[in-house]
């Protein structure tokens, strides 16, 4: 395995991509947040999972295939000539969790968007990132109709530790979304081991 620094540099440098996951329940504002900071209109791609299963009756190796399709929205921020940041909206429904494993692989961190009208819809995102050890922040998306909750109420309901930042946000506002991302990356940097300094 090559280390990060000794990675074979091509003659013309290819930028390195990093990604942040934006998770939360359906309608919590994931795509809105991505759109607010992305330099491109968010794109949508599809992942298709195909699972083959063999029948027990002898049909000469006939396979039965089951498929699941999941759409992913994402945006892009060009950081500099060598780094591109992608923001992926994670599919909100439990049955698409297979996609989360792929999304979480190598992810820099995650934003869990909480909708205080339906806070339970982000429980499984919190569970997932805790279990995978993916650093995350909780962004409480303020909807017009939603009541203002105190950070501590949200922290208690989500049962997250004190070191996980909770920020109030408006997914429609670019500056607000920037703050959320700054909070996340700062949190990621602070969580790094001291030997990684420099």
């Amino acid at each position: 395995m090559a280390s990060a620094d000794s990675e074979n540099r091509p003659p013309e440098a290819i930028p390195q991509a990093v990604k942040i996951i934006v998770a939360g329940g359906f309608g919590a504002g994931k795509t809105t947040l991505v759109a607010s900071v992305s330099e491109i209109t968010p794109l949508s791609t599809e992942e298709v999972m195909t699972e083959a299963s063999y029948g027990v009756d002898d049909l000469g190796g006939v396979e039965e295939k089951t498929t699941t399709t999941v759409a992913l929205d994402f945006g892009r921020i060009t950081i500099n000539s060598d780094i591109v940041l992608y923001l992926f909206g994670a599919p909100g429904q439990n049955r698409f969790w297979f996609m989360w494993d792929e999304l979480a692989e190598g992810a820099l961190g995650a934003v869990v968007l909480a909708d205080t009208r339906r806070l339970h819809t982000c429980f499984h995102a919190v569970d997932f990132f805790e279990r995978r050890g993916v650093p995350f922040v909780v962004a409480v998306n303020r909807f017009d109709a939603s009541v203002d909750y105190r950070q501590e109420e949200v922290r208690e309901a989500l049962d997250i530790s004190d070191d996980v930042p909770i920020v109030m946000a408006d997914a429609r506002e670019r500056d607000s979304c920037k703050e959320v991302l700054v909070e996340l990356v700062t949190h990621v940097i602070q969580g790094r081991s001291p030997v990684m300094s420099g």
């Binding site: 990060a4 013309e12 290819i14 930028p15 390195q16 991509a17 990093v18 359906f26 309608g27 504002g29 795509t31 900071v37 794109l43 949508s44 791609t45 599809e46 298709v48 195909t50 699972e51 295939k65 089951t66 498929t67 699941t68 399709t69 999941v70 759409a71 992913l72 929205d73 994402f74 892009r76 921020i77 950081i79 780094i83 591109v84 940041l85 909100g92 429904q93 439990n94 049955r95 698409f96 297979f98 989360w100 792929e102 190598g106 820099l108 009208r117 339906r118 806070l119 339970h120 429980f123 569970d127 805790e130 909750y149 949200v154 309901a157 429609r172 991302l181 940097i189 790094r192 990684m196």
Partner: protein, 164 residues
């Protein structure tokens, strides 16, 4: 506005079941690790199976001649960056490959190729694998699974976001 998810035809079909969530917050229940993660292979078909009509796959996988994985097991994930190799002669390629090559004149991620050509990620992965094997494109993989990005990368990302 927050309607784009609602308008989507695939996947985002509704809120998770449960309490409607007004009033005092329900507390997060214990993590359901022992229930699997809804992956169709982990415990047989999950509730999500059958979401897409099976017939919709026939055409995409025709492009790959039935293959569902890249030829040499290359690591091609969603944010692998791909660029056309400059020193290659142009050669006759099938339309899907040509379309990918056009997009790769500048560095582009696998996910963007998939989105812009409207071809599922899985299929793009196979087609790109062919192009990598033939030397037509070069790639830069995202960070390995086991390692977080370097601190200098994180700092650059932080600075870049602040500049937005």
């Amino acid at each position: 506005m927050n309607t784009s998810e609602e308008q989507r035809g695939t996947g985002w079909t509704g809120p998770a079941p449960g309490k409607s969530g007004t009033g005092p917050f329900p507390r997060r229940p214990a993590p359901p690790w022992n229930r699997g993660r809804g992956h169709p292979t982990s415990e047989g078909p999950s509730g999500g199976v059958g979401d897409a009509p099976a017939g919709s796959l026939v055409r995409p996988y025709t492009m790959t001649r039935g293959r569902t994985r890249p030829p040499t097991g290359q690591k091609l994930d969603m944010i692998t960056i791909v660029v056309a190799a400059r020193d290659r002669e142009e050669r006759a390629l099938e339309p899907e490959y040509q379309a990918i090559m056009r997009l790769c004149r500048r560095p582009i991620s696998l996910a963007e190729i998939s989105a812009r050509l409207d071809i599922p990620l899985t299929v793009v992965r196979v087609l790109l694998g062919d192009l990598v094997a033939a030397g037509d494109v070069r790639t830069r993989a995202s960070a390995p699974v086991t390692r977080l990005p370097e601190k200098k990368v994180l700092q650059a990302v932080l600075d870049g976001i602040r500049r937005l």
